[in-house]
């Protein structure tokens, strides 16, 4: 059961949040400009790494804001929380 630091509401219980999968997925623009393969890549392909995962969460029962979380998928440690539009933080690789 994670304790997730919402950037607006502070640390809250996992059960208040909704998971949004991998973050920083670039939507091809304009969509017509890419071939089926690239579009399928955008739609379906995700990294699923062992280690640091940059992912999105939404504070469903709270402020309903989406935000980014860098989480170690092995330890579940949350290494960084940052707003949508902010760039990926530089993290020391921890395992």
């Amino acid at each position: 059961m994670l304790l997730i630091p919402c950037p607006f509401c502070g640390p809250r219980d996992h059960s208040e949040f909704s998971y949004g999968g991998e973050g920083h997925i670039q939507r091809p623009h304009p969509p017509e400009a890419v071939d089926d393969h690239a579009w399928a890549d955008y739609l379906f392909m995700r990294k699923n790494p062992k280690g640091i995962h940059y992912e999105m969460w939404m504070h469903l029962y709270g402020c309903r804001r989406w935000f980014n979380v860098a989480r170690n998928t092995v330890t579940n440690q949350i290494l960084a929380v940052y707003l949508v539009g902010e760039s990926v933080p530089i993290l020391k690789e921890e395992s």
């Binding site: 607006f8 509401c9 502070g10 809250r12 219980d13 059960s15 208040e16 469903l60 029962y61 709270g62 402020c63 309903r64 804001r65």
Partner: protein, 207 residues
Amino acid sequence: MADILAQRQTIMSSLLAELPAASLSLAAVIFAEQPHRCLLQLRAKADCPGLAKGLADVHAPPLPDYNRFTENPDWRLLRLGPDEWLLAGNAGSNRDGKAKEYAGIIHSHLSGRGAVVDWSESRASLSLSGPEARGLMMRACPLDLHPSAFASGHCAQTRLAQAPGLFWQSDAAPRYEILILNSYSEYLWRWLLTSLASRGLEATRET
């Protein structure tokens, strides 16, 4: 119009009426409802100049921080998110039933760069106090309610039992005020009463 007002009924009022009006001294938790409470959801960028003007025009208290509220005799103003507030009329302030009027005043200042949405009809407003009020809330929501972590002036949107809800602490006793969507209000009410009853605790209502 007076006839029409007499037709109004809330789910919470009929639920509260089921509760025996027991002796206040025996009750572990005392419930009260503020029916038809004036609730206005405000949406705008925090630096929108119209927002402050609109709030000033309805004599609202100053803008609060996240998870906090400010108050004056007429209003409570809660910060719900980066671009979201809730303006709630206080009991006895004569704000209730006038949501449309106040929404219009604030909206006129926003120049279309924000929204004022009337929530008055969608949510029940239930307060709880008494010696077991904190104990009951500790069972209902996953927040730390210890006085060092949650005090008067704090508010939170969270889960109440398994329903989405919002509450704040209005005094140090503590007294809590809950806003719950009408559709969930009977579920939450039964949940709170069952929790008390299962521990042999008595509840009553303010008269």
